[in-house]
Symmetry: D2
Subunit: 150 residues, 4 copies
Amino acid sequence: MSTFNWPIRVYYEDTDAGGVVYHSQYLNFLERARTEWLRDLGFEQTDLCDDLHIVIVIHSLQIAFKKPAKFNDLLTVKSSLLSVGHTSWQCAQSIVRHDKVRGDEVLIEAQVKATFVNAQTFKPTRIPAAILNVIPQFTSQSTPQTMEPT
Amino acid sequence: MSTFNWPIRVYYEDTDAGGVVYHSQYLNFLERARTEWLRDLGFEQTDLCDDLHIVIVIHSLQIAFKKPAKFNDLLTVKSSLLSVGHTSWQCAQSIVRHDKVRGDEVLIEAQVKATFVNAQTFKPTRIPAAILNVIPQFTSQSTPQTMEPT
Amino acid sequence: MSTFNWPIRVYYEDTDAGGVVYHSQYLNFLERARTEWLRDLGFEQTDLCDDLHIVIVIHSLQIAFKKPAKFNDLLTVKSSLLSVGHTSWQCAQSIVRHDKVRGDEVLIEAQVKATFVNAQTFKPTRIPAAILNVIPQFTSQSTPQTMEPT
Amino acid sequence: MSTFNWPIRVYYEDTDAGGVVYHSQYLNFLERARTEWLRDLGFEQTDLCDDLHIVIVIHSLQIAFKKPAKFNDLLTVKSSLLSVGHTSWQCAQSIVRHDKVRGDEVLIEAQVKATFVNAQTFKPTRIPAAILNVIPQFTSQSTPQTMEPT
């Protein structure tokens, strides 16, 4: 399955007094990457909201904090689709750091389920066909996964 | 002039890798205190928005970071009104830490000008009379200040 | 099993343009509650760090975002221990909102595994005996859970 | 005086329930730009800290919130030096939005005074000569400004 990579620089705002990135901040990094992934596919969330009254909300997620990132680190968020349902999809995302000595280190591993909802009612709504049409390029090298994630 | 005090506990989320509270986080502490001050006066910002379509936005501020706060500190935000105009007011706010040895230390000093605006157009709108009516209790011990802050 | 309750007020800083609390912010609410829980048990994390060189880091977590919280909501974080190992423990945490009409609503459900580590090396270290000694009061009404969570 | 430009994309994490960027978040945008400015000049703050035990802290700032930024906006932070003293300097920073219809709009105007301090004692320390040496390229087109900002 193809993977979308997005770079993230760690600034002071992202760190805490333990000297490392504060744990909830990784969720922001993951969402920035998902936003840029959609943009890279040709979809602006502002258009989704203005034209189709759709916003994408996080249904649930699992995350493992394997190694800490530090101030000034340059990280990469790697994102790929795990499964696509009628109103939601599930992504696998990881955050890696490129270290000259130690090579690539996986700092974060996460699975995120996002649901497309109506912007007013927050009720689930079908993923727009225009988006579904561009997804195969992301899943063509994997076995079909069409079941709604639980 | 009377002062409204609000306690703030510093959590890890508020700190950065320098071991102290990240500088922009103090602005959040100041706003929490202003929100609780209005609530203490009997005004919920949700009612202001739902009933009068008014939101309060920050026009400008000056802030001096005199000493750093640390993880786990228990701080007090002190707020008082400096001046009240037709559509905006200006507050003096400070953040102090109570230290058993050193006594009260002033960590932050700020002046914040907030404007009442229409929730849709963001255009300035008059401060509701109901709010102006309760303000004298805050300014009764000071000389009248009715000029619009610049 | 006994539960520790901690109130959280939602401020503007916690919300996003969708009109609801930004998803990663709930993790901050959960950590505030865990910090206050330890304090309520008699342990300050500053002492843990200064005296025993121990900090508590998040190993992994699962979280379900069931209903959104809004600006000005008064929430309660409910925390209880699920299991205790040599160097880590696992908590169940939920965030509920008290609504006059709808009663208590569960907004968030989470399981969080935290590990005690050395503040310099970030290597796992045993949970201090002083802390383990006060845990039974939290687990006395439940069946013993002594296995290291996976 | 030459100006350093740095792009900032607005994500959901930066916004609040008013539908616009939360006011304190602009301070984070300003700091990201200052960090990238120093990096562009050849200085990593991690090296400053590790090699010279110097960190840069914010002494004080003034900021005017002229127009709100929104989700998905692509902004530019413009930074230039106003004055350089022995242990601190003062920058002028603005945040602008490029709008196809309205042209460039200035959203934020700020003046930020930053102080170089010892990483342990937080006492002011001289700006390293290596940094002062590269500053003239930023100030060569302006009149000399060597006075310590007040």
